[in-house]
Symmetry: D3
Subunit: 285 residues, 6 copies
C-alpha cells in the first residue's frame, strides 16, 4: 500500500505543471540518441502519449541525418557539405525523402502509437504546408538543400483538434513541386512560431548551451543568446540551434529549450519538473 | 535528478488508468472522516482536481449527518430515527437545508476550488433535478425524509460539459416544491445511473464489505451482494450502501466501490492503482 | 368572450416591451418584503418565469439580513454593526453561509421552479466566480465582511445559455478560500456590470429615491445621483443603493432602478409598463 | 397604476399557454374576411408577431380566391368550377401566380413586417418544396388545378431556425416545372403534417363546424368528423376543411382548428385562451 | 471515345476558373432577351445551376419592364416616364408587384429548379431586406418609383448558406410598409456591395460599353467610366448601368461586367473563359 | 468565340455526373503505367483535383511494386514470390516502407498539390488506422507480407471533412507495431467498404475483365464475377482484383471498376462520361 500512496503523492507534484500547460502546444524536435537507443525511444514515446492524455498537445519534428548517411553509403553515394549543410543532388533528395518521410517518420508514428497515442505522419509536402526555397550560398550549388519560405499550419491544427499527434518530416516543396531537404531544428522553430506554441524543445546529445568554462548555462535571453554567438562562446552546431530558439521566442513562443536527449524522459523532466535538464531561452522579465 | 526521474517513472504507471477513464464520469459519495480531517479533506480535493485535469469527470455527492446533528443539538432539537432514517419535521428540514445546502456544500466547493478546480454547488432543487417523494414506512410519520422519484441530469451535464465540477447536496423537492432530506448514498447511486457513470465510489469509515470473519471481500457480483444481505453477513448501515451499489451496477454503472475514506487519497488509489482499497461490486464476466 | 378579447388587447400592450428586452439580461436584487409576504413572493416568481418565457434573461441576487439575524439571535449570538455593515466573526460567517447559501437560496430556487422556471442556485464561491476581499474600515476589525475584488461571469453565462435562471447568494471567497459576507446590492450591481446587463433592478421597501419634500424622484442621471448624496438629500441605507446603481450605469448597464418591492409584480410593472414604480438612474441623452 | 396591475395580471393568464406552445410550430391558413378588413388584418399580423416573440413559430399559408376572381373579371376572363375547384387554363394560372405569389403574398409579408416580424414569402415552387400533380376528375379537363404529390420542408425549417416567419402561397410545380393552383387549406394541412406542427388553424368566415341545429360543435374526433361528413351534417365548403383537419391530425398534428376569422385576434384567442372560438378536431383521450 | 477525351480536356480548361471563384458570390442582373428567348433562358438556368454545383454562389436579381408594360396595356393603363423612370401610381404598383414578384420571380425560380437548382424567390419586402424610399425628382410626382435606403443581407446569407439560390424581385418597402418599384440594376449593384460579392454581372441586349466609334471597350476603371459619362460617350440607358457598376466596384465588389445576354451561356462564358463577352469595370492595378 | 461556346456546351454534359456524385467519396487504386508516364500522371492529378473542386471526395490508395523492385535490385536484394505475394523479410520491409511511404507517397502528394489539390499522405500506420496481420500460407514463411485485420477510418474522415485529399500507402501495423506490406488493391477495397464509398476504381494496365474471346466484359454482378473465377475465365493477377471489387460491392460500395489506366484521364472518363473505359462490378437490379 505504501508504494501506492507514494505514487499518488508523486502524481500531485505534477499537477501544477499539468495545469500550466493545459491545452497548450509543445513542439519537440526529436533526434540524436533519443531516436536511436531503445530505452530513450520508449521514454520519448511515453512522454508524448502522457502529455496528450493530460491535455497538452505535442507536435513532433524529427531529423534523420545518420540514417540518411547510412543508406547513401550503402548505395555508394557520397555527400559534400557546405557550412554543415548537405549538398543534395536529385538522387540524394530521393534517398532523403525515402529515409525521412518513409522509414523514420513511419517508425516514430509506429512507436508513439504502440505506446497508446494516435500519431499521424506528415511531411511538409502534405497539403503543401511547408513552402520551401533553395538555400543560396554564394559560389555554391546546394541542390535540394532548402530553407522555409512559409508555413501554413492548417493541416497541423486539423489533426491536433481531432486529438491526433502530428509527426513531421523536415521536407518542403517549392511552387514547382520540387522537394527540399530542410534542417529539422529550423522546421521545429518555424512550426512553433506559426502555431503559437507554448514551448519549443530541441532534443540534442549535449547537456545544453555551455559557457567558456564548459558549464551549463541554464537561462538565456534572446539578446544574451545572440551576444554569445557573436562572441564565439556558442560555436559550430550549437549556433543554428540557439538561433532557431531565439527566433522562435522572438516570434511569440513562450520558451525554447535545448535539452539533453540522452537522459531518459528528458522531455517530461523538462515539462513536468523543475529539474533543469538544459538551457532555456526566453524573454527575461 | 534521481528523484525527478523517479517521479516521471511513477507518472507513467498512472497512464493506463488515465487512458481507461478518459472522458468518463465518476460519481463519488463524499462523507465520513474524509469530510472532517484536514489531511483527508485536502487529499480528496486534490484527487478531484487531478482527475478533472487528466480528462476524467468527477461528480461529487455529499452527506452531512454529524454536522446536522451538531446544529440541531445546539438549537435544542432532538431527532427520532426510524430504521436509521431521521424523522424530519419542518424545522429540522430547515436546518438540514442550511447545513447541507449552505454550509457543507459551500465548504466542499470552496475546498475543491482552493486546490484549483472549478466546482459548482447544486442541490437537487436546482433546476428541479431531483424529484423527491416522501418515504413511507408503515405506521410512521417520517416528515420530510424523502426518496427519489426521478432524476433529470441536464443541469449536471451542462456544468460538466463546461468543465465545472458538480457538487451535489442530497436534497430534493416534490411537485409542490417541498424540500426533502434524502440519503446521500442513494442520491449518488441514482445520479450515477442517470448519467451513465463509469464508476460509483462510496467513501466510508470502514475498509469495505467484510465477511463473517471480518475479512475484506474485494469483489462481489450483484447476486452475491444480495445474497450476503439475505444471509445477514452484510448488516446494518452497510446494507443500504451495498444495495445502492448493486442497483447502480444493475442500472448500467460499470463498477461500484465501497472504499475506506480514512486512507489519504483513497479515491485516487482506487482509480489510479490496483491497490484494492475496498470492495468492488460489478458484473462478473 | 369580451374578457378574452380584453386579455388579448392587454397582451399586445406588452409586445413593445417584449421586443425591447428580447434576449437581454436583467439583474434583480431580490429582498425585503418581496421575500417575505406570500403574495409578493408568488408575484416575483411569476415575473421571473414569465420574463424567461418571453425571451428575457433574469439573474437573481438575494440578500437575507433578517433571516440571518433571526438564527443568530436564536443561537444567542449578537452582531455589532460598523457603518451599517455587520462585523462577521467566523461563527457568524458560518451562520450567514447556512442561511444565505442554504436556506434562502434554496427557497428562492424552489419558489421559481414551482412556478415553472428552471432556477439554479449559486453562491459566489461556485466556480470561484466572486473573488472577495476583506472590508477595511480604519480602526475596526470587520472579520468576514467582504467586498468584491473581481467577478468571473462564465458560470452565469453557461447557465443562462442553457436556459437556466441563476439565483445568486451574496457570498464570495478570497484566494485562501475563506468565505465573505458581501452586500447583496453590491453583488447585483457588479454582476450586472460584468455581464453587461440591460437593466439592474433593486427591490426595496420604499417607493424609490425621495427628494427633500419626500416626493419620489422618477429619474436621475449619474451626476445628479452623486450630487444628491453629497448634499445629504439621499441618506443612510439609500446611499449604497444609489451608489451601486450609479456605478452599474457607469459600467455600461443601460438603466438601474430602485423600485418598491411591496407592490405586487413590481418587477414586471417596471419592465413591461410605463407605470413608473420607482426611481431610474440612467445616462440622460 | 391599477390598470397597469390589471395588465400584469392578464399577462400571467397567458403564461400557461406560452409554456405549452414554447418552441412549437403553428400552421395558420389565413384567408376570408381576416385578409380583407383592416382591423382584422392588423389583428392577425399582431398575433403572428407576438407568437414569434414569445417563442412560438407561426407558419402562414394564404389563399386568395376573391382577389383572383377580381383580376380575372377585370381582364374579361371567366372561370368554370367543377366540384368547387376552378378549372385553370394557362392564362388563368398566370393570373393566379401573379395574384397569389405577387400581390397577396407580398402584402401579407409586408403587413407582418410592418408590425415587427421578419416574414419571408414563399410559394411551393421555391426550392421546389411543393411537388404538385394535376387534379384528375373523371371526364373533366381541370387544367392547372393541382393537388400535392409531396412536401420537402427544408426551406421552411431553414427560415424558421433563423427566426424568419414563412408565408406560403399555395402554388406547386410538377416535375416539368409547370405551376399548379392548389387549395390553400390542403397546403396548410399537408405542410402542418410535413413539419410535425403542434397546431393547424384554419381561419374561416363561419363560427366553426355546426350541427344539424346550426349550433357550434366545439370538439370532434377524427372518426366523428368523418362520420358527420358521411351523414351530410357537414356539407359543401366545410367538407374539404374538415377532411384536411382530420388528415392533419391523422398525420401527427396535435390539434386542428376551424375558427371564425371574423373575430378580431381570433388566432391568439384560440392559442392563448380557452375562449373556444371554433371547432377543434383532435384525438380524444 | 475521342469525343469523351475531348470533353474531359475541355473540363480542365474550366478548372482554373472554378478554383478562382470557389466559395465566392456572383450577383447577376437577369433581364432582356435572356429572359425571353427559350434557348437563352435554358442556358441561363443551366449556368446558374452549374455554378452552384462547382461551389460558386449565384444570386439573381431580375427586372421585368416589358412584361409589366404588357399587363398594364392589357388593363388599359398607360405609364408616364420621367428621365426613363416609370411614374408609378398605386394601381400600377399593384401590377408591378404582381408581375415582378408573382409571375416573373416564380418563373425564374421554376426555371432554375427545373434544371436542378434549389432557387428561392425573394422580394425586397421579405424580411424587410430592402428598405426603400421615394425617388425625388424636382417638380415631379414619381409615386411609388423608389430608390434604396439600405440593404440587410441576412435573409440572402441564410439561404445561401443552406445552398439555396436567391432570386430577387426589385421591390422594396418603406418604413410604413408601402411598396416601391426599384430599378433592377440598382438592386443588383447594391446587393452585390452589401454581401461583398466577387462579381456583379449585368445581362443586357447590347455587346457592352461602346466607344465613340461603336467599338466595344473591354475594360474600364472607375474613373474612366465616370469620365466617359461626363464626356457623353456613354449615353442614355447605359449611363445608370455603368454608374451602378462603378459604384459596386467602389463598394468592394471585385469586378462588374456589362455583358451581352443575347449570347447563349453568356454568364458562363464570362465566368469560365477569357472570351470577353462585354465590358468589365474594375480597379486597374 | 465558337470554341468558348463549345467549351461551355461540354461543361454541361458533365453536370448530371457532378450532381450524381456530389458529396460522395470515390476510392481510387492508383498504380501501373498511370503512375509512371508523365502525361498519365498529370492527367490523374488533374482528375483528382477537379473532382474535389466539384464536390466529390477522392481517396487515393497507391501501390509501388516496380519501384520497390528497382531499389531492392540496386541494393542487391532478391525477393521470392509465393502465389504472387512478395516474401518480405525485415530488411525488405524497410525498403518497402521507404519506397511506398517515403518516395512514392510523397511524390503523389506533391503531384496532386502541384495541380492545385491539398493532398495529405497517410500510411496505415498513421493513427494505427490499418490494423494488419501476417499472411498465412501453409508451409511458407511470408515474413512481413500482411493482410488487413481491421480499418478505423476516422483519420481519413477528419482529413476529408477539412477538404484534404488522403493519399494512402498500403502499409499496416500489427498490435506490436510491426509493419506489414499489404496489397494495394486490398487496401483500396477495404477502405472503400469502411468509409461507405460510392465507387471503387482500380487503375490497371489492361482494358478491364476479358471473356474467353479476349473481349471486354463491361458489367458483372457479384455472382457472375465469382463464377468467372471458378470457371478460370478470370485468371492470375486479375483474380485478386475482381475478388476485391466483388467484396467491396458486397460491403456496400455502390460500384467497383477495373479500368485501363493507360488511357489519359481514365478516372474522369469513368466518372464523368458513359464512355465505358473498363469493367464495372455492381449489383444488378
Amino acid at each position: 500500500m505504501q508504494k501506492h500512496i507514494e505514487k499518488i503523492r508523486v502524481l500531485f507534484e505534477s499537477l501544477p505543471y499539468i495545469r500550466k500547460f493545459y491545452n497548450k502546444t509543445i513542439v519537440i524536435k526529436y533526434g540524436g540518441s533519443a531516436m536511436v537507443e531503445d530505452a530513450l525511444k520508449k521514454g520519448f514515446a511515453q512522454d508524448v502519449v502522457l502529455m496528450k492524455y493530460v491535455g497538452i498537445n505535442p507536435v513532433i519534428v524529427h531529423g534523420g541525418g545518420p540514417q540518411i548517411a547510412k543508406l547513401l553509403s550503402r548505395l555508394g553515394k557520397e555527400s559534400r557539405f557546405v557550412k554543415g549543410i548537405r549538398v543534395t543532388d536529385e538522387e540524394t533528395m530521393d534517398i532523403v525523402e525515402m529515409v525521412l518521410g518513409g522509414k523514420i517518420n513511419n517508425e516514430i508514428v509506429g512507436l508513439i502509437n504502440h505506446y497508446g497515442g494516435k500519431a499521424v505522419g506528415l511531411s511538409g509536402k502534405d497539403a503543401g504546408f511547408i513552402k520551401a526555397k533553395r538555400i543560396r550560398i554564394k559560389g555554391e550549388e546546394m541542390g535540394f538543400a532548402g530553407d522555409i519560405e512559409s508555413i501554413n499550419p492548417r493541416v497541423i491544427k486539423t489533426l491536433e483538434e481531432s486529438n491526433f499527434i502530428p509527426v513531421i518530416a523536415p521536407i518542403g516543396a517549392d511552387e514547382k513541386g520540387l522537394s527540399y531537404n530542410i534542417n529539422a531544428d529550423t522546421v521545429a522553430g518555424k512550426v512553433a512560431g506559426a502555431i503559437a506554441a507554448e514551448k519549443l524543445i530541441l532534443l540534442t546529445d549535449v547537456p545544453g548551451v555551455l559557457d567558456r568554462d564548459k558549464k551549463l548555462i541554464s537561462m538565456l535571453s534572446i539578446s544574451e543568446a545572440r551576444s554569445l554567438i557573436r562572441k564565439h562562446v556558442i560555436t559550430e552546431g550549437m549556433i543554428p540551434k540557439v538561433k532557431c530558439c531565439a527566433d522562435a521566442v522572438a516570434n511569440g513562443v513562450n520558451s525554447a529549450h535545448i535539452i539533453d536527449g540522452r537522459i531518459e524522459h528528458a522531455v517530461l523532466l523538462e515539462v513536468f519538473t523543475d529539474a533543469g535538464v538544459g538551457t532555456v531561452i526566453k524573454i527575461k522579465r
